[in-house]
């Protein structure tokens, strides 16, 4: 395994529902090397999305440490995590989560602009990415006029536009038919591998998982390594 790029150390996360406490992660541990593609498997509600949220800094663990490229997210303030995410994380969601009031190009260029890029630079870069995902002619369309597959391509372009170190994908094909799902996975895999980026993908789909370098199971709040094709 290459030197550790992502390190999850004894991370716990509990949600409260009224009086009840629901522990999603219990002293979970994981190490991922630079450039690795990791599939995260687990039953519904096992905490896959929670782990991705913690890795992106969207959510905060109750205890433990999460290191990404040598920086501990848990020690960061909300503002620092936002800046970190803005610069180093790309996110692909199951339900695409595009902004309906922005055009396709604007959706893609937004992370760059938020990070302070000039409009012209941002839209230019967005156009490049849209070209890469095969949507070069849809830049001016509004996102809710696109098909599911097209929306997910836009989401991939958005996740990559600011050249992040880590791409997190939460069930990226969960809302797509099989063929479209495969196309999306081809695209995601190609773009992340070619650029030498890390991809951590939560999925239920075992075929998608087989594309990864490693498969990790989330069970009873713990992360368990699983051999591929095993």
């Amino acid at each position: 395994m290459a030197s550790s790029f992502v390190k999850v150390e004894n991370v716990s996360k509990t949600y409260s529902e009224g009086e009840q406490q629901h522990a999603v992660l219990r002293n979970a541990n994981l190490e991922i090397g630079r450039g690795e593609l990791v599939a995260l498997l687990g039953a519904s509600g096992s905490g896959k999305s929670t782990l991705l949220n913690l890795l992106s800094g969207i959510d905060r663990a109750d205890s433990g440490a999460i290191w990404v490229d040598g920086q501990n997210l848990i020690a960061m303030s909300e503002a620092e995590r936002t800046l970190f995410r803005r610069k180093h994380i790309g996110f692909v969601f199951q339900f695409f989560n595009l902004l309906p009031t922005l055009t396709v190009n604007e959706n893609v260029s937004l992370p760059l602009e938020l990070a302070g890029a000039k409009l012209k630079v941002a839209t230019g870069k967005a156009a490049e990415l849209l070209d890469l995902v095969g949507l070069e002619n849809r830049g001016d369309s509004y996102s809710d006029r696109l098909s599911g597959g097209e929306q997910q391509r836009v989401a991939i372009a958005r996740a990559l536009v600011h050249d992040p170190l880590l791409v997190l994908a939460d069930e990226p094909t969960g809302n797509l038919d099989e063929d479209t799902g495969n196309q999306i996975m081809d695209l995601l895999e190609k773009l992340t591998r070619n650029a030498g980026k890390n991809l951590i993908m939560a999925t239920h789909n075992s075929l998608n998982a087989q594309r990864a370098d490693r498969i990790v199971y989330l069970r009873d709040g713990k992360l368990v390594e699983k051999a591929k094709n095993g």
């Binding site: 992106s56 936002t82 009031t101 409009l119 809710d144």
Partner: protein, 853 residues
């Protein structure tokens, strides 16, 4: 009729409960709107009831009265009529406004009566009197200054029969005595006696120094014999006396205050119109937010009609609760409003004491119906939209907004047409006051309907302008434009509230500037004197002749000009005559039309003509060259009108004439005000102080320098608009609640979107900035569009409503302040409304927000 499932009602009821903030804001909007209408209704009803009671108390059952003009009638006129053997009830009256430090210094009417002639007229006097029956009370007839007061006054001020009190009559303190206490037998008597004290007519003659004179003789003439009896009575009267109908005496005052009250009622309705936008906004949002649920309900077999009823029943529930709250709140506000309304009536129209608040049942019913009706009307369109939800809702957000785009264009065309037609009718057709207010509503609502569409047209431009500040600069305008379904009604409501604020502020500012200009022309002397406690604009209480003599002989006094202000009878009812002996008065007037130069006009006045003030000219439809007929002591006489002059002192208006001519025609030497021209170099303030010190030993006089009189006039002017300001404030508060509600609704719907933005790197500061930029833009656009609307409203108020209500026309004095203030209010209110939604957006974690759908 198909049965309506109780489960469906639960869907509505639980939605309201599960969105408490949204429901609370909707209730607050309805409650505030209703409360404004109810409070003005309560204030108007209390003032009207107070007026009615004082009329009923004084007029009683009299149908006619014999008037002798300002000098009154000789006592013999009454005895002659009595002896003539006419079968007509008649009673002599001599009344006088007084106050007493022992009775709280409130204005009271001292009614001088003949107890033996009174019973047919004012039976409430014949109730239980503490100290024996009225006829048996020796003190009442024999002791100078003996008066009767009601039990209520006696208890309030701790006075008992036999107590001595001081009476302030025409600025002089005279000794009085409580001869007895009257126990009112019914509510009418109780309230009538709150502002009246009684004395024998001879007592009032003594106190007022009018021995041998009475003010009038009240008569009860049967309708069928009216004409014959009037002719018989007039044959017995001297030339100076005339028989007049009792109702005419009060009609003019009723007309004047009626206009004032219509103005207030119109302003109060505005609160409700703004509330209507707010309710529409909230109901629309609740429907849009649940379009999936309605689609599911339809898929499960619920009919469109049932969905329609479901939404309307939610509105009904909210309407009932909001209206009840509004009525309660209105009564609380009404108590405050009564004071403001009464104060204005006192300052501007006539002295009135309103004691107690009348809460007519009709106010409850009107308030509840208005609130309920407004809520249901506002909910009709959303309910209809909900009923149209397809069984599987597939409508995308952009499709929804694009459908709405077409609707906004149609609304804008309709609105523009409404504004143009209303403006055309206002300009071209001679409308009455109520119709004119309806016209203003047409213009304002017309403009309001164009607001959302204009906003959509402006936003791309704004986005380009704000582009340099970064992505938020482009996103915010687009969010505003794309959220039209949520923000339009709130924006329109805010626009209406701000436009009316501009209109009213411009009108008041222009009015104030006109008054200042006018005071500059008419107030040319150094010192002004009238009797303390008399109306500043219409001093009608006589100054003691000794005081006038002293002033004439005062060192450094160059000239003294006398004024007699008095009400005289005319075929059209009482008319105020202002008679002065200022030889330069022609140059101290602003003539709107006249026969010749100002000197020529004043020469004509000296020769016997009159000049008429603009309000009275408008009221009577007279102009220069016409004639006005008045009852003088020498009988009815026609006066030529030489000019119409500007006058803001009274909306009742007056005719001005040369004092010596008045004295000759009415035989009245009284002087009610005077002005002093001091010699050059005199220290006027010192002279005022010296005069106060010396003359107040003769009579309590208001002695003011020119500057003091101007500033006091403006203080009263400003006071008279307090109620207007209060109503405006509440209307703006309703609009504020509207924007807050719209922004909260929007944030609620955009939680997921905000979560995504945060997930891809939007910082907390940027969340604040984006939210506040959006609300700020809503405020700025509403404020911007309110500028021309407010200007149009001000023009209508100045040119039309003021003329119809008060008889005067005003010139627009454009000042930047109302526009700047309005923009500040609009943006400030919108930003303030954005604070809480922005705070909520920052508090919710991105992960939570994205889970929300």
């Amino acid at each position: 009729m198909a049965s309506f499932s109780p489960s469906l009602l639960k869907v509505g009821w639980r939605y309201l409960i599960s969105h408490p903030l949204q429901t609370a804001l909707m209730l607050l909007g309805i409650a505030l709107g209703v409360s404004v209408a109810v409070s003005v209704d309560v204030a108007n009803a209390s003032a009207a009831r107070g007026f009615e009671l004082s009329i009923e108390a004084v007029t009683g059952r009299s149908t006619h009265y014999v008037s002798g003009g300002p000098s009154g009638l000789a006592e013999e006129t009454y005895t002659d009529l009595r002896r003539a053997g006419l079968e007509v009830p008649m009673a002599p009256i001599l009344s006088q406004m007084i106050s007493s430090p022992d009775l709280g210094d409130i204005p009271l009417q001292l009614l001088g009566i003949d107890p033996f002639a009174e019973e047919p007229f004012r039976s409430y006097l014949y109730t239980n009197t503490n100290g024996g029956s009225m006829e048996q009370m020796d003190a009442f007839f024999t002791i100078p200054g003996a008066i009767l007061i009601s039990t209520e006054l006696s208890e309030q001020y701790g006075l008992q029969p036999g107590d001595a009190i001081e009476l302030n009559l025409n600025g002089r303190l005279l000794p009085g005595l409580i001869a007895g206490v009257i126990e009112p037998q019914d509510d009418l008597s109780r309230r009538a006696l709150q502002t009246i004290v009684l004395a024998d007519i001879s007592t009032v003659q003594e106190l007022s120094g009018r021995l041998g004179f009475i003010e009038r003789i009240d008569l009860i003439l049967p309708t069928e014999q009216e004409a014959g009896l009037i002719a018989q009575i007039e044959d017995l009267l001297p030339a100076s006396a005339v028989v007049l109908a009792a109702e005419g005496r009060n009609r003019t005052v009723e007309d004047l205050t009626g206009a004032f009250q219509t103005n207030l009622a119109a302003l109060s309705m505005l609160g409700l119109v703004v509330g209507l936008f707010l309710i529409y906004n909230t109901m629309t949002f609740s429907v849009v937010q649940r379009r999936q649920s309605f689609g599911t309900l339809r898929a499960l077999g619920t009919t469109g009609r049932e969905i329609f009823i479901l939404v309307l029943s939610e509105a009904l529930l909210v309407g009932i609760i909001g209206s009840l709250l509004g009525v309660g709140l209105g009564i609380i506000f009404g108590r405050g409003a009564v004071e403001l309304v009464t104060q204005t009536i006192n300052d501007v129209f006539y002295a009135q004491t309103v004691r107690g608040v009348s809460i007519p049942p009709s106010s409850f019913i009107k308030g509840a119906l208005l609130g309920l009706g407004t809520t249901l009307v506002a909910a009709l369109i959303p309910a209809w939209e909900a009923a149209k939800s397809p069984p599987r809702s597939t409508l995308s957000r952009s499709q929804l907004e694009s459908t709405l785009g077409k609707l906004l264009r149609t609304a804008a065309i309709l609105g523009a047409a409404m504004a143009v037609v209303s403006a055309f009718l206002l300009i071209r057709i001679d409308l009455n006051l109520t119709a004119s207010f309806a016209g203003i509503f047409g213009v304002v609502i017309g403009f309001a309907l164009t607001t959302p569409w204009i906003t959509q047209q402006l936003m791309p431009l704004v986005a380009r302008l704000l582009a340099p500040i970064g992505p938020l600069g482009r996103m915010a305008p687009r969010e505003v434009s794309n959220s039209a379904s949520r923000t339009s009604p709130a924006m329109a409501a805010l626009m209406v509230a701000v436009a009316v604020t501009i209109g009213a502020s411009l009108m008041v500012g222009s009015f104030r500037a006109s008054v200042i200009d006018w005071l500059g022309v008419i107030l040319r002397n150094d010192i002004y004197v009238s009797v303390a406690g008399s109306n500043l604009a219409e001093p009608m209480v006589a100054i003691a002749p000794e005081a006038i003599e002293r002033i004439n002989a005062w060192p450094n006094v160059e000239a003294v000009h006398l004024l007699r202000l008095v009400q005289v009878e005319s075929p059209q009812g009482p008319i105020t005559v202002s008679a002065n002996d200022n030889p330069n008065d022609g140059d101290e007037q602003v003539f709107l039309e006249g026969e010749g130069t100002s000197q020529q006009i004043w020469e004509a006045v000296k020769a016997g003509a009159m000049i008429i003030s603009e309000p009275l000219a408008n009221h009577l439809g007279l102009g220069a060259g016409d004639e006005i007929r008045l009852f003088t002591q020498q009988g009815e006489k026609a006066f030529h009108i030489a000019a119409v002059f500007r006058d803001y002192s009274s909306s009742r208006g007056n005719v001005t004439m040369w004092l010596p001519n008045y004295q000759e025609l009415w035989g009245d030497e009284a002087v009610t005000a005077l002005s002093v021209k001091a010699a050059a170099g005199t220290d006027v303030d010192a002279m005022v102080d010296d005069m106060r010190a010396e003359l107040n030993q003769i009579q309590f006089l208001e002695i003011r320098s020119n500057l003091a009189l101007r500033s006091e006039t403006l203080v009263i002017f400003d006071q008279s608009f307090l109620i207007t300001n209060a109503l405006q404030l509440i209307t703006t508060a309703v609009a504020f609640v509207g924007v807050l509600s719209a922004m909260l609704s929007l944030q609620l719907e955009k939680q997921r979107q905000m979560g995504i933005l945060k997930a891809i790197g939007l910082s907390q500061r940027q969340v604040w900035a984006l939210t506040l930029l959006e609300t700020g833009l809503i405020g700025a656009i509403a404020g911007l569009l309110a500028l021309p609307t407010g200007y149009a409203v001000a023009q209508i108020l100045l040119r039309l409503i003021n003329r119809l209500s008060f008889g005067w026309t005003l010139q627009m004095h454009l000042q930047p302040e109302p526009f700047i203030q309005a923009m500040a209010i609009a943006i400030g209110a919108a930003l303030l409304a954005g604070l809480y939604p922005a705070y909520r957006a920052t508090q919710r974690s991105a992960a939570d927000a994205m889970r929300f759908d």
